[in-house]
C-alpha cells in the first residue's frame, strides 16, 4: 500500500455537485472530476476523470451493453483499439461525431468516419464504461500475471439457467444515455473501430433504468411493477463507495493489482422475469415476495418508501417482512454488511419462441470491489431462499474488471499494458 490513494474529495465532488444542481432540472450533468473553471455543459458527462463515467453517474434512461471477444493475439493491436476507443468515446461524450466535427461528412468517395445516427441529437449524458473479462488474462496477451484475484469467473449459482450465447467475454462496453439511439450509436461505432481486433460476443439492450445512483433521482419501477433500488448505494455515499465499490478505497481490501486501483468490478446478469406467472400472483403475494408495498415502495415494516427496513418487526406474531422476502435476503444486514452499487435496466428481447411467452426482465448490473465476497454470496442466498426466485431465471452472465478512469491525454489500457 505504498501508492497514494486517490483523493476522495477529488473523485466525488463532481457527483456531489450534481445532487444539488440536478434538483428540478430533471436531467443532470455530472462529471467525476470536472476541470476547474470550465463547467461541464448540460447533458454531457465528462469522459475523462479519476473514475470511469457510467458507474456513479446518475443512471441514464437506456443501456446498450456489449460483451466482446478479442480475435487477435497481438497485444499491440488490442492496445491500439483501446486507445482509439478512448478518443472516440471522449468525442461522442461531448455530442461530437467520431472523427471530430467533420466526422459525419468528408469526401464522397470514402465512408464517413461516423455512422451518423446520433447527428443533431444531444449527447444525452452518454457514458461508455469499459471492463476486462477474466478470459483476457488467459495468456494470449501476456497479461496472465496481471489478473486481479477478484476477477475470477463466477461459480455456478442457484437459480441460473445460462444461455451459453449470453455468457462471458474478453471485454465489455456499457453505453448508457438518455436516448437509446445515442447509446446504440456509441457501441456501434466502437465495434466498427475494433473490427478485425474484437468482435461482439453478445449484446443486450436495456430500455429503462431500474436503479437510482444519485439522490437527485427518483426511484424507478422494474417490470414487476415495483420500485427498484430504493436502498441502493448513491454517488453521494462516498464512504460506502470507498468501502464497497472502489478497488483500494478507504476501508476496502487492498488492491492486489496496481492498475485496478480506483477501478471496480462489474457483474452483469440477464435475469428473465417469468412475468406471466408474476402477473397472476395476488397483490398480497407480490408484496410478500418483495417485502415492500407495490404502490408506495414502503417496506412492509414501515409506511414510506425510504423508511429503514425493520427486519425484526412482527405483525400478529409473524414477521412484517417475510423470512423469504427479497428485501430481507438482499439487505446488508442479512449479508454481513455487504453493499453494492446496482445499475440495472429493464429489457425485452420479444418472444420466447419455445413458449410464446414474453422474454423480458432485468439486465442486472452491479458494481463492487470484491464480487466473490459481495455478489456471489448474496446471490447464493437469494437463489436458494428468496421467494422471488420462483419468478426469475438468470439466463446471461459476465464479470468484468473496470479499470480506473482515463486522465486527459490518456487512454484505456494504459495501466494494464504499461
Amino acid at each position: 500500500m505504498s501508492t497514494v490513494r486517490p483523493s476522495r474529495r477529488g473523485v466525488l465532488t463532481g457527483a456531489a455537485v450534481v445532487g444539488a444542481a440536478g434538483i428540478g432540472a430533471g436531467v443532470s450533468a455530472v462529471a467525476s472530476r470536472p476541470a476547474a473553471g470550465s463547467p461541464t455543459p448540460a447533458r454531457t458527462v465528462a469522459f475523462h476523470g479519476d473514475r470511469q463515467a457510467g458507474i456513479t453517474t446518475p443512471a441514464q434512461d437506456s443501456l446498450v451493453f456489449a460483451a466482446l471477444d478479442v480475435t487477435t493475439t497481438r497485444a499491440g493491436d488490442l492496445a491500439d483499439v483501446l486507445r482509439r476507443w478512448s478518443a472516440a468515446a471522449a468525442t461522442m461524450a461531448t455530442g461530437v461525431p467520431v472523427g471530430g466535427p467533420g466526422g459525419l461528412g468528408g469526401a464522397l468517395d470514402e465512408p464517413p468516419q461516423d455512422t451518423g445516427e446520433a447527428h443533431e441529437l444531444p449527447a444525452a449524458n452518454l457514458t461508455v464504461t469499459l471492463g476486462y473479462g477474466p478470459s483476457l488474462f488467459d495468456g494470449r496477451f501476456g497479461l496472465a500475471d496481471r489478473r486481479p484475484a477478484a476477477l475470477e469467473e463466477l461459480p455456478a449459482l442457484p437459480g441460473e439457467q445460462l444461455d451459453p450465447t449470453k455468457v462471458g467475454g474478453d471485454l465489455c462496453l456499457q453505453a448508457c444515455a438518455d436516448d437509446p439511439q445515442v447509446a446504440f450509436h456509441a457501441v456501434r461505432n466502437l465495434v466498427r473501430i475494433g473490427r478485425g481486433t474484437v468482435r461482439v460476443r453478445w449484446m443486450q439492450l436495456g430500455f429503462g433504468r431500474t436503479s437510482t445512483t444519485s439522490t437527485s433521482q427518483s426511484t424507478p419501477r422494474n417490470l414487476m411493477g415495483f420500485k427498484d433500488g430504493t436502498a441502493n448505494l448513491r454517488a453521494e455515499d462516498t464512504a460506502d463507495l470507498d468501502r464497497h465499490v472502489w478497488v483500494g478505497g478507504e476501508g476496502a481490501p487492498a488492491a492486489d493489482q496496481d492498475w485496478m486501483r480506483g477501478g471496480t468490478y462489474l457483474v452483469a446478469r440477464r435475469i428473465r422475469m417469468l412475468i406471466e406467472s408474476w402477473d397472476r400472483a395476488s397483490l398480497g403475494e407480490q408484496e410478500r415476495v418483495i417485502g415492500r408495498a407495490k404502490e408506495s415502495g414502503a417496506p412492509l415494516s414501515g409506511t414510506k418508501e425510504f423508511d429503514t427496513l425493520d427486519l425484526t418487526k412482527t405483525v400478529h406474531g409473524k414477521p412484517a417482512i417475510d423470512v423469504a422476502a427479497h428485501v430481507r435476503l438482499a439487505a446488508p444486514e442479512t449479508n454481513g454488511g455487504v453493499k453494492m452499487l446496482r445499475r440495472g435496466y429493464s429489457y425485452t428481447d420479444g418472444l420466447d419462441l419455445a413458449t410464446g411467452q414474453l422474454d423480458a426482465g432485468l439486465f442486472f448490473i452491479v458494481f463492487g470491489n470484491d464480487p466473490h465476497q459481495q455478489f456471489v454470496p448474496v446471490q447464493r442466498r437469494l437463489g436458494a431462499h428468496d421467494a422471488l426466485t420462483e419468478y426469475l431465471k438468470h439466463t446471461g452472465s459476465g464479470i468484468f474488471a473496470c479499470p480506473p478512469g482515463v486522465r486527459q491525454g490518456g487512454a484505456w489500457g494504459e495501466g494494464l499494458f504499461s
Binding site: 461530437v96 467533420g102 461528412g105 468528408g106 469526401a107 468517395d109 470514402e110 473490427r195 478485425g196 468482435r199
Partner: protein, 384 residues
Amino acid sequence: MIRSSRPLLALAAAPLLLLVACGGGSGAADESASGGGAANGAVKITLTDDGCTAEPNSVPAGPASFEVVNSGASAVTEAELVNAGGRILGERENLTPGLTGKFSLKLDAGEYTVQCPNATTDTSKFTVTGAAPSSTEDPLFASATTGYQDYVKQQVADLVTATGAFAAAVESGDVAKAKELYGPARAPYERIEPVAESFGDLDPKIDARIADVADPASWTGFHRIEQSLWEKGSTEGMAPVAQQLVADVGQLNTLVQTTTYQPADLANGASGLLDEVAKSKVTGEEEAYSHLDLLDFAANVEGSRKAFDLLTPALQVTDAGLVTTIQGRFDDVATALKPYQRGSGYALYTELTPDQVKDLATAVDALAEPLSQVSGKVVGAANQ
C-alpha cells in the same frame, strides 16, 4: 450477382491520373519528408482558443508548406486543411501549447478551409489561386490500372474456355460431367464480378438467382442450370440456356477488350467483392443448390486481393499503415479459409458449423472495414 448500390465502374474515360501528392490525407508527411522542393507557398497557422487563421490565407496553386503553431491554446490542439468536399488533406494533431507541427501538400486552385476543432470559431477560409501546375500521369496508378485490365482479360478468357466446356457437357446431357465443370466455370467470373456488373443487364443474364428475376420463366445463366443439375439431376431443357450463357460470356469477353479502369474502380471493386462475400457467400445464398459458396468466396477474395495488390505501390505513398493493415487481414481471411480447402475446390457450405461460418464472416468484416478506406485514398491522391 452484385446487388450493391456501390457506384459502377466508370468505363468511358481513359485514365487521367495526376501526380501523387506529397502526403495527402491524415498521414501527411512532415516537411522534411515532402521531397517537394521549395514550396512557393509557406503558410503559418496559429492556434488560439478563439480560432485558427492561416497567414497568408491565400497561396498560388502548387506545393505549399504549412506550419501549425500552438502558442498557448489550451482547448485547441490540432489544425486541418480541408478541401471543398470536406476531405482532410493534411493535419497536425496533439499540438499542446508550445508545440509546432508541419505538413506539406500540393494544392489545386480552389476554396479550402482551415479547421481547428474545439475553438470558438473552428473554421476559416483558405484560398488557392490560379491553375494547378500541369500534371503528369502517375506511373504507379497507370501500371495498376493497366495491370487490372490485363487481369480482367485473362479471367474472362478463362471464363470463356471453362464455360464452353461446361455448356458442352450440359448440351450433351452429361449431368455428372456438367456438375464437375460448374465450379471451375464459376471461379473466374466471381474474381471479376464487379466488372461484369458494370455492363448493365449482362450480369443478371449470367449470374441471377431465382429470387432476383421478375419472371422465373425468363431466368437464365449459371444458377438456372445449377438448379436443374442439383435439384432435378437433369439437363432437360437446359441446352438453350447453356447456349445463351456461352453467348453472354462471349459478349463479356468482347466488352472487356476495350474497357479501361480508374484507380477508384479497382478500389471499389476490391471492396465490392468483399461486400458480396459478406452478403451472399458467407450466408450460403449464392450457390443454393450446389453449395459451392466457398469456391465463390475464395474467388471473390482472390479478385479483391488482385485489385488491391495492384494499387499497393501507389497506396504505399499515401498511407503505408493502411497497406500493412489490409495485407494482414487478407492473410487472415486466407488462413480462415484454408481448413476448408479440398483439393482444387472447397468444402460444401452445408458442411460448416454455425461457429465456423461466424469465424469466416468475422474475418471478412475485419478486412472489409479498412478496405473501404482505399477508394478515398486513391481518389484523393489522384486528384491532388
